[in-house]
């Protein structure tokens, strides 16, 4: 099951040229770009592993692509995403985040139901 997290996730996977154009846009806005990866893209796991430092002094998208490719090479079966962080006062948060790699086999997640005390129904998300 194809997971849909972050921007553009309902679209076909972005090509390198498209990733480059998005990063270029983020840099033009003055956002800091970073690369993160994870083996388990559980919707609750908001924080993924950082791949290197956020690139604060980056001037050109080629640098980010270098990092993305290094991450893909190191973790070929991980989810990899690119984040763009806006440090402007009032925002101070990620403004753009999109997947740039998915593993070949995506098991996906499903909702499971559980009956608790007093017949309360609880739901949780677990890996398929």
């Amino acid at each position: 099951m194809r997971i849909t997290q972050g921007t553009f996730s309902f679209l076909p996977d972005l090509t390198d040229a498209e990733i480059r154009a998005q990063v270029e846009y983020a840099l033009r806005q003055g956002w800091a770009v970073s690369v993160e990866h994870t083996a388990e893209a559980h919707p609750r796991d908001v924080y993924w592993e950082m791949f290197g430092m956020p690139m604060f002094d980056l001037k050109d998208a080629a640098g980010a692509l270098l990092e993305v490719n290094a991450c893909r090479k190191t973790f070929p079966q991980h989810y990899v995403k690119v984040n763009a962080f806006d440090a402007t006062q009032g925002f101070e948060s990620t403004r753009l985040s999109f997947l740039v790699q998915r593993p070949a086999d995506e098991p996906g997640y499903r909702v499971v139901r559980q009956e608790g005390a007093g017949r309360a129904i609880r739901y949780t998300v677990e890996r398929r």
Binding site: G52, K59, D60, A61, A62, G63, A64, L66, E67, A70
Partner: protein, 298 residues
């Protein structure tokens, strides 16, 4: 990319001069001529590169095959001959000509590239390369990267990463190595891979005395000072003496001399009592400010 559109047939002829004008080449070259004194070999090489890039653009417009040329360079020359200044200019020029996308310059030395323990060098070098993408990476005193006396030196690792990026991402960044002539030659002898990937070796000649005087004039202009008429002679004499003394560093020595002259001028003006200081006083370097120099003590 602004490649030729497939639907319209490629034109049969193009006006290269107009192409150069559109890219602002004549302005850039004129500015270079105005701001840099002497350095004929450097200027002529920059003119050649500008011509090459213009022709390359013309070929692309006519639908001819055009491979972006390799523009990695090596600047050799004595201290103070303007290597860093020209590198900064080179970034702007290549940006104006559309060869690099952003036109910034990242100046680094061995410390910024080479780590202190195993596994530290590669990320450090990559970090610098990432920052330099789309611009120019200037490696000052590049020969320190290679230490033949220590075969386990991490510099070699850094050189290998540099070589790989210089080869594979030619259109993403331009690397300029700089250093003293003889030591750069030793460096290239022990790193033939590096030597063969650098297309342009540019030698910066020492400045002649009249050139140094012209440089001093430009520097003073920029700082908003001028020389009193007799100070001009003092400056000429100063340069003639300084050139013969040890540790002479071309334009850098001139800059230092002018900074010290400003210092003396300032003390002279502060000590001045009895009349208000005029605009004239504040902008004029007198002969005595220069003649107080240690250079005249023999």
């Amino acid at each position: 990319m602004n490649g030729p559109d497939d639907l319209t047939p490629a034109p049969e002829a193009i006006d290269l001069a107009a192409l150069a004008r559109d890219a602002g080449v004549p302005d850039v070259l004129a500015e270079l001529e105005r701001d840099l004194v002497g350095l004929q070999p450097v200027k002529s090489r920059i003119r050649d590169i500008a011509a090459l890039l213009t022709v390359d653009r013309g070929r692309r417009l006519l639908g001819l095959p055009s491979d972006p040329p390799s523009l990695h360079m090596c600047f050799t020359g004595n201290p103070g001959t303007g290597k860093t200044t020209v590198a900064l200019r080179m970034a702007q020029i290549l940006h104006a000509l559309g060869y690099v996308r952003k036109g910034h310059l990242i100046a680094v030395t061995r410390d910024d590239l080479v780590g202190q323990y195993i596994g530290h060098t590669a990320p450090k070098t990559r970090e610098v390369l990432k920052k330099a993408m789309g611009g120019v990476l200037f490696i000052d005193e590049a020969y320190y990267l290679y230490r033949p006396e220590n075969e386990r030196d991490y510099g070699q690792e850094s050189i290998e990463i540099l070589l790989q990026v210089m080869e594979n991402q030619r259109d993403d960044l331009v690397v300029i190595l700089a250093g003293y002539r003889d030591r750069m030659q030793t460096f290239f002898r022990s790193n033939p891979g590096m030597a063969s990937r650098i297309a342009h070796h540019i030698d910066f000649p020492d400045y002649s005395e009249p050139e140094l005087e012209a440089i001093a004039g430009l520097m003073l202009d920029k700082m908003g000072y001028r020389l009193a008429p007799d100070a001009q002679d003092a400056l000429r004499e100063y340069i003639a003496r300084r050139v013969r003394q040890p540790h002479f560093a071309n334009a850098r020595s001139i800059r230092n001399a002018l900074d010290r002259a400003r210092l003396r001028q300032a003390s002279r003006l502060v000590a001045l009592t009895g009349r208000p200081v005029s605009r004239e006083d504040l902008t004029t370097i007198a002969a005595q400010d220069l003649r107080a120099s240690r250079v005249f003590n023999d």
